[in-house]
Symmetry: C2
Amino acid sequence: MSQVFFDNIQQHIHLSEEEKELLLSYFKTKKIRKRQFLLEEGDVCKHSAFVLSGCLRCYFIDENGFEHILQFAVEDWWITDMMSIITQNPSRLNIDALEESEILLIKREDQTELLEKIPQLEKYFRIKTESGLAHIQSRLLENLSLPAKERYLNLMKKYPRIVEKVPQKQIASYLGITPEFLSKVRKELVKN
Amino acid sequence: MSQVFFDNIQQHIHLSEEEKELLLSYFKTKKIRKRQFLLEEGDVCKHSAFVLSGCLRCYFIDENGFEHILQFAVEDWWITDMMSIITQNPSRLNIDALEESEILLIKREDQTELLEKIPQLEKYFRIKTESGLAHIQSRLLENLSLPAKERYLNLMKKYPRIVEKVPQKQIASYLGITPEFLSKVRKELVKN
DNA sequence: CGCGGGTTTGATGATGCTCAAGCCCGGTGG
DNA sequence: CCACCGGGCTTGAGCATCATCAAACCCGCG
């Protein structure tokens, strides 16, 4: 199972067998049920999670009670609340599972220690973070420049797996529109 | 002048005098005039820039010719097109100066080499990237959850310097609204 | 002085939201 | 097996936010 994880890392850096073993000793595997929380608003985020299987989401609840999804994470993706984990301030975000999932968890301070023991991992995490930054930038660009229908089409093209497996309600909240409006957008689309 | 730069780095890691010297040898200082481009759409992004003084912007032009600003960078900030620099694909973004500015430039491949020579810098760049990621996440959240007026108020609270020195047109394009609508928002605000 | 860019204003229109109702469908209990 | 929920999706009417377009204004600068 953790082969997924090693493969992900070894796309960027090389690790010896001992290093792999050491690496793995810093993580704990966890099964997490549907709707179970990994992080709740108000708590300080302590962990980063690598998804082995299943699907998690990171979202924020505004003052009117509406959810806004920042990120989905399916197999082979990292998820955490970056703001809370680096500042160690209470989180404004929630992370939970959309379906039964299996994840690898590492504590921030253990990660720091691990990075001292296997310095090449700095490179791995830098690259992962850079690519996360690049992706969220292009998502922001889309939100600034495209109407909802185009954003929906792009999401379907880029992440068909997510659109299939996630309820429309959640997709709407990711796109920044109401479920009702998404429904109307979809109606428009099938007409053509 | 480059003291700003060293201070920024030494908030996170420690460098010896020789390392500082080596570090600096990888950068070139550049003065850049108002409206001058650091990166033009279609080019592959080769450099990252650290702003010593002045103000740059990174923006994208949509199919209707409208500009959407992804990021401002004032003194003490990094700016680059992360997507293009990591994929080495042609950029969809432009970076230019809003006023005469002085910057430190480093080529991506030189940065890679530098990181091999001074591995602690991996940590510095990882932290900077993490914090960039955290900031853009919270900006995306704002865009998803708040109306234009609130976003404007937040921007004024968080970055008064930017709101002061940047023309309203640019602020509007950062907020994701038209200059006309920003003007109306401001009118509303002074009334109270 | 006049030009030109940035800003303002107003009328009109599109995009997307709110609220309320109805539908579809899988699950649950009788 | 059926009846009855309950959650997710759809539909429609009316409304808020924000865009478009055109005109006017302001002001620094050649």
